[in-house]
């Protein structure tokens, strides 16, 4: 042992002990997340045991816990998310294409980018207030309210002005809420497409839009799709903005009266009416059940949560599958 070493073996051992304790503490913190997830899932399953059955997914809500079901919530969420996808996908991808493929480095581009980052941090309930004022009430500019009729041949579109507490208002609100997420995800996917692909396409005489449509977008599609599905699965769980815009809590009908997939084909008027109908959604029903004092409703809520989690699982599973399938076809 030379003289420059001022640390005794005991001190060194102490430092190592401290290090090991720290590692264990970090490991403990990491496993806490896993533990909570397990407790949560097991807890929900235990509570829902015997309550989640065929009747539960085919019944409407009820004052009797045993008869309460989630049919209205399932169809409400279906229309809501379907329409949210309809709005947010073209707008989100379009904005991302502009920012990545067209925009120059100027103050406006920078402003849009900074703005996107800030929008992603705005609490969802604030979007609810925005949706309530702009879509549901339209600033109170139409105090009498009217209905615009548009004939589509097989059915008639009945658009209420202002939109009121309809699926449409909810979908537009959720669209604004998830747009920043969709745009950022699509931007990342576009950025991952190598520039050489674009150069090759342009060199062969393709215009910029042809390059984007035929080369860049197909190459970025798996990434964009994954981002969209993740954003939509966030939208499915969103409760606060829907409560704000006035999704109903006790509902015994489905939007447009469509109760099964067969109705979608059989009843064109119902399909056309659905977006302008009042609605409830999966998380709203869960919230409603959780808030009821009767203890049995905690089991109903657990069954509802299980349905919601299964839907989320299916969506996320699809995202992973799509990513896998597409990835095989692309090589550069």
């Amino acid at each position: 042992m030379s003289q420059v070493v001022v640390e005794s073996p005991q001190q060194l051992a102490g430092r190592h002990r401290k290090g090991r304790a720290f590692e264990w503490a970090c490991l403990l913190a990491t496993s806490l997340g896993v533990l909570v997830l397990v407790v949560l899932l097991v807890g929900v399953c235990v509570q829902a045991w015997g309550w989640l059955d065929g009747d539960f997914v085919s019944n409407y809500d009820s004052r009797h816990p045993r008869e309460a079901g989630i049919l209205a919530g399932i169809w409400g969420s279906f229309w809501l998310i379907g329409m949210t996808a309809l709005f947010s996908v073209p707008i989100g991808v379009g904005a991302a294409v502009y920012l990545e493929e067209y925009a120059g480095q100027n103050w406006l581009t920078r402003l849009i980018q900074v703005n996107l980052a800030n929008l992603a941090g705005v609490p969802s309930i604030v979007y609810g207030i925005l949706g309530l004022t702009v879509f549901v009430r339209m600033f109170g500019a139409f105090p009498d309210g009217k209905v615009v009729l548009v004939s589509l041949g097989v059915a008639t579109l009945k658009v209420p002005i202002p939109f009121g507490r309809t699926v449409l208002s909810g979908a537009l609100t959720l669209t604004l809420l998830i747009l920043p997420v969709v745009i950022v995800a699509a931007q990342e996917a576009l950025r991952a497409v190598p520039g050489s692909i674009r150069n090759a396409s342009v060199a062969l005489g393709a215009s910029r839009w042809q390059t984007i449509r035929l080369q860049v977008l197909p190459a970025a599609a798996p990434g964009i799709l994954t981002g969209i599905i993740l954003a939509l699965s966030r939208a499915i769980g969103e409760t606060a903005p829907l409560v704000m815009i006035g999704a109903l809590t006790y509902v015994a009908f489905t939007p447009g009266g469509i109760e099964s997939p067969v109705d979608v084909v059989r009843d064109p008027q119902g399909v056309v009416d659905a977006p302008f109908d009042t609605f409830t959604a999966l998380p709203i029903q869960i919230f409603n059940w959780v808030s009821r004092p009767k203890a049995e409703y905690q089991h109903v809520a657990a069954a509802g949560i299980l349905v919601l989690l299964i839907v989320l699982l299916i969506l996320n599973g699809t995202a992973i599958l799509i990513r896998h399938k597409y990835r095989k076809g692309i090589r550069w």
């Binding site: 997340g33 896993v34 949560l40 604030v126 609810g128 839009w209 390059t211 969103e238």
Partner: protein
């Protein structure tokens, strides 16, 4: 990286070769314009949010008076009672603000250290196998809807964790609805966010720094806490701020678990009402448009918006100003 840097430059798009306006060139311009409008919508959303909040809360449009034209700012920030729905109306936001901050504080006490510790573990200690196992779990945790966390707080945390420890063990009176259970679940909710953002910051610290510290005789503990963590400081702080902003704006879990009693209290075992919970509770009832209660929604939402916006901006500023740049 912009489009022009990647190679398809301005010469192609602007058509300097010929000045002819052809149909296809018009179409190219129209498509670009359409996409530009999509991008502008995000600016429109921000303008919309600010316009809506300001016109109902600060400056009325037309005949309608805004909230702060009827209730003074002084009353809003100094009055200690919040009773807009009672006959005897008081508009002091302090009970809502303390409720919100207490829940966010409890959440921060749980979420920030646990999130940071798991970030350190995942970045510095974990084998790739463990990382690949834990990261998806954290992603699932982040993807669970907040209403589920509210249920978890009400049905599990309060009766099976808080009551046995604090009521039976220490003699506190733990209410069915309480700030502590809300704070705990919000804390759990922000763990994945802190963990993944901090981990990114820790991993971007170059390994040369770690090796240099080892060469000087550091243990792994010293490397983590004295070298890597300070080097990633800006990213970690930014993740903390984002997580706290998220906790402040969290709505459903807090509404379900903390209840709706706007009392000015610091007792975490009593029911409180957060700003977000107030907004939800009012909109669940029947409130006449244009009434003072209705306008108070916008005043509270504006306060909430400004708080979270400030935290987001500070977090971005921290990232820009204090980032350590390594080659």
């Amino acid at each position: 990286m912009t489009a022009s840097e990647r190679g398809i430059g301005a010469s192609h798009a602007s058509g300097t070769l010929t000045g002819r306006v052809t149909l296809s060139r018009l179409r190219e311009q129209a498509i670009k314009g359409l996409f530009f409008c999509c991008a502008l919508l995000s600016i429109g959303t921000t303008v919309g949010i600010i316009y809506v909040l300001v016109t109902e809360a600060v400056i009325g449009v037309g005949d309608s008076k805004a909230f702060f034209q009827e209730v003074s700012l002084v009353e809003f920030f100094t009055e200690t009672r919040w009773t807009p729905q009672f006959a005897d109306k008081h508009f002091g936001v302090l009970p809502l603000l303390t409720g919100t901050l207490m829940i966010a504080g409890i959440a921060a006490c749980i979420g920030l250290p646990v999130g940071l510790a798991s970030a350190i573990y995942l970045s510095e200690y974990a084998s790739p196998r463990v990382r690949n196992l834990v990261k998806p779990v954290l992603e699932v945790l982040a993807g669970i809807p907040t209403v589920v966390y509210g249920y978890f707080a009400l049905v599990f945390v309060t009766p099976h964790v808080l009551r046995p420890i604090f009521q039976d063990g220490l003699g506190f009176d733990v209410g069915v609805f309480n700030a502590a259970s809300a704070g705990i679940v919000v804390g759990i909710m922000i763990i994945p966010m802190v963990s993944s953002l901090s981990e990114d910051a820790l991993r971007s610290v170059p390994s040369g720094l770690r090796e240099a510290a080892y060469a000087l005789g550091s243990t792994k503990f010293d490397v983590c806490l004295r070298v890597v963590l300070p080097a990633a400081f800006s990213g970690v702080i930014a993740s903390f701020l984002l997580a706290i902003a998220r906790a402040v704006g969290e709505t459903m879990a807090v509404t379900i678990a903390a209840g709706q009693t706007p009392d000015l209290t610091l007792n975490p075992f009593r029911s409180v009402e957060s700003m977000t919970a107030f907004i939800v509770n009012v909109s669940l009832g029947d409130t006449a448009v244009g009434s003072i209660v209705y306008k108070s929604l916008y005043a509270v939402a504006l306060t909430l918006f400004l708080i979270t916006l400030a935290m987001n901006i500070v977090s971005q500023a921290v990232l820009r100003r204090f980032r350590e740049v390594y080659q």
